[in-house]
């Protein structure tokens, strides 16, 4: 039992350093691919489309050698919220549906429409979280930076500083694990001096009251860390050259072209396939 291991509870922001076909892709293609798939899953209205997305995602996890339980870990904390949303959705849609309900109790109605739509909601969230997990496991932070750099390059003609925007995102991602670690430290320091953290007997209100004196020092500690990091970056000459260069010369190969094509086909299927025909 270790209720303080916050790091193990977040799968987001954790790069898995393995050498898989997905890991080897051009970061621009990877990033574009994830964005396309995430958009497709978000826009898809049909169960069949989401089913295809599920197949695509498991194929992706398989190819990138991410253990499924590791990818599912990110689901743990948002799960209650998703379920609450799903229940709301279920009754809302049922209420409005013209279908005959299979169950009624006072003013509550339950219809197949409602069940279907809350099922789709759950599935969509589930797939989005898996996609985000896969993205953060296969894209190292520097790859995200280079990926953004590649994708946003056209914007630089308009005077937009893509390098700075991507560095901001990189630092944000780099801070995720360290945020978890400092949260763990503060919670432990407070718990060992009598706060309700990790005390199974503490009530919800008692735990809620702990939140503010927890968030304030967390904020301060992270500001200090950010300050130290900024110093370290400046000391290593960050910010003088408009054009940063990178270790790897990312080129565009056959694998990249094939992957992009596969992602495009899947995205079209996910959004427009209804099981028997395409809807436009």
């Amino acid at each position: 039992m270790s209720e303080f291991e916050y790091l193990s509870k977040i799968a987001l922001g954790q790069y898995l350093p393995v050498d898989s076909p997905i890991h080897r892709l051009n970061p621009g293609i990877k990033l574009a691919g994830y964005i396309l798939l995430i958009l497709a899953v978000t826009l898809s209205k049909q169960l069949a489309g989401l089913g295809i997305a599920l197949i695509a995602i498991f194929l992706l996890l398989l190819l990138s050698q991410i253990p499924i339980p590791f990818a599912l870990r990110g689901l743990r904390s948002p799960l209650p919220f998703i379920l609450i949303l799903a229940i709301f959705q279920f009754f809302m849609i049922s209420q409005r549906s013209s279908e005959t309900p299979f169950f009624t109790w006072h003013f509550l109605r339950a219809t197949m429409d409602g069940l279907l739509s809350s099922g789709i909601l759950c599935l969509r969230f589930f797939e989005l979280i898996l996609l985000l997990s896969a993205a953060s496991s296969t894209l190292s932070t520097l790859e995200i930076v280079y990926g953004l750099d590649i994708l946003l390059r056209p914007l630089s003609w308009l005077g937009f500083s893509t390098a700075q925007a991507s560095m901001i995102i990189q630092i944000m991602l780099r801070f995720l694990p360290s945020l978890a670690l400092s949260a763990e430290k503060i919670a432990k320091a407070q718990a060992s001096r009598g706060a309700a953290w990790g005390n199974p007997k503490a009530g919800l209100i008692q735990k809620g009251r702990q939140l503010l004196p927890f968030l304030v020092p967390l904020f301060i500690v992270n500001l200090q860390q950010a300050d130290a990091l900024a110093n370290a970056m400046l000391a290593r000459c960050y910010g003088f050259n408009q054009k940063r260069t990178s270790l790897t010369d990312y080129s565009f190969g056959w694998n990249d072209a094939l992957s992009l094509a596969a992602v495009l086909v899947f995205s079209v299927l996910i959004v427009f396939f209804t099981g028997t025909r395409f809807v436009f």
Binding site: M1, S2, F4, E5, L7, S8, Q14, Y15, L16, P17, D19, F70, R73, S140, T141, L142, Q170, L173, R174, P177, S178, S182, K185, I186, K188, A189, Q190, A191, S192, R193, G194, A195, G198, N199, P200, K201, P213, V216, P217, I220, V221, Q225, A228, L229, N231, A232, M233, A235, R236, C237, Y238, F240, N241, K243, R244, T245, S246, L247, T248, D249
Partner: protein, 579 residues
């Protein structure tokens, strides 16, 4: 030799900081030539880190001039060149890592210089090879151990191909062997022609330099060779400093060996200069040590624990560990970084519950689901590593009152806070309403200690309490610990700096790979030089002196690890006219 670094009458104050309105640095005049090895020492808050940042153009002087290879740091156009020539390795390596993999992090600096990929690759290869990280290229940067993170921070600086590297208390978080490795690396760099400026609290590290600069209240108090600085030992305590252990040992031993060199450069030099024995022969004796008959107050049975269990990052920490802590004793946990010491302390406090095995603390079983955890935390108070990071209240009084407020207390709250502050060396009326954010490093450590003492627990669990403290603050801390021991408290302390703690410690457990592999009274454990070395620890200096003397034929008891017992024996041996 040309002047690489030249400071003319430099003054510096931090702007917008009313609490620290006095100048941090005043009238600094300093010249450092290319290829020098300089140690910069001084008490906490004497301005060492500020000076380092001035040399790297991270801070600019308020008055005066800082010239790096002739370039004025106030000329913005020189900054790229200055920062690539003067590299800075900061106190906490984990705060310097920008990227998620080792290779990419090392490439960050050269990338900022706008070099071509092929050139960056060559520099990264070279830097990783020189720091021994060549096999870790693709490793995720936050999965490295403390020592490896330290080396990565250095690799990132070396990839810039600097002419000078400043190390700002780089070894503070490392175990003795890790510290020695970093020191060896630093000396290697210097031999390759790189100018080194080493900021440290450890006098034995400063003794390796060619030149020692002592800062005191923002001014240069001493600037000389180590032998001159450390022979001037009357001034050092006033500057918040100490003698290096080898010099201190020599000053004690010179009474028995008048021919001894008073100022050995290193511990090795001291050991080699010890004289042979010419008195009557008798075999070196050894004493028997009996297990203590005391009742254990903490008892750990067959405890195993794995971090991130069930993930690809799973890391075993404790492996069927057995350990007992006797009431009223000071019990030290020693072992290399990552051996599992902190994990043990957090089990005793109930922050971790056993995955398998049992932990009994004053009769409470921490794996019991009905355990009254507040009762446990009142019994065993835990001070974390770097406790100053874990201060969370705005005012000092509130910070110290936090534990008694939440855990319940007897008597007036004010009295409890007052006495805890007094024991920790803080004046109640002066400090209670001060903001925690305005304290110096040493003061923060005292506040953290007082906030633990306010629990009035029977057992104190202290995790690396001496790391990052200057010699004077360390001495004050040890005095407080001694008072607590005399008051009947049980103290379980994990430490790398056991040399300093030696006189206090009764019992020692050596943790290696999550197991207790050697335990006994401190004289016994610390005299097992070979066993300690096998698990990456260095025996304390008096133990190594005793072993060397035994080797030279002196009839010294084998279990000798403290100066007290060593001096006691030498006094009786030399008074018989043995020398």
């Amino acid at each position: 030799m040309s002047a690489l670094i030249h400071l003319e009458n430099v003054h510096f104050t931090y702007p917008n900081d009313s609490s620290l309105s006095k100048a941090v640095l005043t009238n600094i005049k300093l010249t450092i030539h290319a290829g020098e090895f300089v140690a910069l020492i001084g008490a906490n808050g004497s301005g060492k880190s500020t000076l380092a940042k001035l040399l790297n153009a991270l801070l600019l002087p308020e008055r005066g001039k800082v010239l790096i290879a002739g370039m004025d740091t106030r000329e913005y156009g020189f900054h790229t060149l200055i920062r690539s020539q003067v590299g800075l390795v900061f106190q906490r390596p984990q705060n310097q890592i920008v990227a998620t993999t080792v290779e990419e992090d090392t490439a960050f600096g050269p990338g900022n210089l706008g070099l071509e990929p092929a050139k960056i690759k060559a520099r990264v290869n070279d830097a990783l090879f020189r720091t021994g990280l060549a096999h870790y290229r693709q490793r995720s940067s936050f999965q490295l151990s403390a020592g490896e993170t330290q080396r990565l921070a250095l690799a990132g600086v070396l990839a810039m191909q600097p002419r000078c590297v400043i190390f700002d208390e780089t070894t503070a978080m490392l175990d003795p062997i890790g510290r020695e490795m970093v020191m060896a690396q630093i000396r290697d760099l210097n031999r390759q022609g790189i100018t080194v400026i080493l900021i440290t609290h450890l006098m034995q590290e400063a003794a390796f330099a060619e030149r020692v600069i002592v800062l005191h209240h923002g001014e240069i108090a001493l600037d000389d060779s180590p032998s001159k600085v450390f022979s001037n030992n009357r001034d050092l305590p006033a500057l918040g400093l100490d003698l290096p252990p080898a010099t201190m040992a020599a000053s004690k031993l010179i009474r028995y060996f008048p021919d001894l060199q008073p100022n050995p450069q290193s511990e090795e030099t001291l050991l080699e200069s010890l004289p042979g024995y010419s008195g009557e022969q008798s075999h070196s004796r050894s004493t028997k040590h009996s297990a203590t008959s005391n009742q254990p107050i903490v008892s750990i049975e067959d405890l195993s624990f794995t971090y991130m269990a069930g993930t690809p990052l799973a890391q075993p920490a404790l492996d069927h560990l057995n350990l007992q802590v006797d009431q009223g004793k000071v019990h030290a946990l020693i072992g290399a970084t990552g051996a599992g010491k902190s994990t043990i302390l957090q089990h005793i406090n109930g922050l971790y519950r056993p995955q398998s095995g049992r932990v009994l603390v004053a009769g409470l079983d921490t794996s019991d689901s009905r355990l009254d955890i507040m009762a446990l935390r009142k019994k065993a108070a835990l001070a974390f590593q770097q406790p100053e990071d874990q201060i969370f209240e705005q005012y000092i009084g509130d910070e110290i009152a936090y534990a008694p407020r939440h855990l319940g207390y007897q008597g007036r709250l004010e009295d409890i806070v007052r006495s805890a502050m007094q024991v920790a060396g803080l004046d109640f009326d002066e400090y209670k309403d001060r903001l925690t954010s305005t304290l110096s490093g040493g003061e923060k450590r005292k506040v953290a200690l007082a906030s633990i003492l306010a629990i009035q627990a029977d057992i104190l669990l202290l995790d690396e309490p001496l790391s990052g403290l200057d010699p004077q603050a360390s001495r004050e801390f040890l005095r407080t610990m001694d008072d607590q021991k005399k008051a009947g408290r049980t103290i379980l302390v994990s430490t790398h700096q056991y040399d300093e703690m030696l006189p206090l410690v009764d019992w020692v457990s050596t943790i290696h790979n999550g197991k207790d592999c050697l335990h006994g009274n401190s004289e016994f454990v610390f005299s097992q030089i070979e066993t300690l070395e096998e698990i990456g620890l260095r025996a304390p200096l008096p133990a190594r002196i005793a072993a060397r003397l035994i080797q030279l034929g002196w009839p010294i008891i084998r279990d000798t690890a403290t100066f007290t017992s060593l001096e006691h024996q030498l006094a009786s041996l030399t008074s018989r006219g043995a020398v």
